[in-house]
Amino acid sequence: MNEEQLLSDIQEGKSGAFQRLVELYQNQVINICYRFVRDKTDAEDLAQETFIEVYFSINRFRQQSSLGTWIHRIAVSKSLDLLKQYSRLKRGGGSQGTVRLDARAVDIPAPSWTGPDRILEDKESLDILTQALNSLPKKQHVALILSTYDGMTYQEIADTLGTSLSAVESLIYRARENLKKKLRTYYERSVKKS
């Protein structure tokens, strides 16, 4: 069944049509959300919120983009909203345990250099990465995160961001470069401290 038919079935309220849509997109949606929030429970909650919004807004969907792109946009927007909430909570909750990657970040515990094989299972590295990602400009952040999901092509990322394919490539390149800079600043400071 094509997307147009599915959409028209849902808008006409045909039984089972919405379930088909959820089954079609649920894994894409949860994986997009997971790449932003890096927590399975949060990702599942976000996926549910995404489909709730889809359910209540689908009659207003004007097909200016594909159904998939529209759903991806909702998932991205919900994920960014949650990240914003978390960053507000962190700011409100004092500096304990926070990892800041701006120029004045001094409250980060120095990383331990023992056990060089520990990679991202290490919570500290994950925190650093998450924080660095969140400090990127929004479009770079979204483009980079979506590019790490195999289930999405660059064209789909471009559609989700409402930009061109070449702009997406440039955004991803700049995002990686910025990320490297931020991580270098952090690790250099950590080496100085130790």
Partner: protein, 118 residues
Amino acid sequence: MKRTDNDLAQIDRKIEQTLAGLDTTESIETGPHFYTRLMAKIKETESGEINPVWLSLFRGRLAASLLSLVILLNAVTTIMVIRNVQEDRNEYRRNNVEAVANEYSLPSVSETLDLAQE
């Protein structure tokens, strides 16, 4: 403190490791009964959003008519209250004057009015 080549190598390695984490994020799947739970949440949201019929009275032209009616009723009530207060006040004064007239054996107000008419 000057960084050694070893420090720089460690930094580069750590950066690569951290970035590698970005590209190796595992794929996950929705939990069982995802759709059932989703529909339960949707129903919950829907029931929270349903507006009682009486709320529709406060929309559109009907709302304007109801508002006009309320304003009119308030105006009428206010006028009636003002009139009653004035009548009460007049009667109170009249009674006082009558009482004084009786006290000093003077013609009452009504009698004075009768005399004036004659």
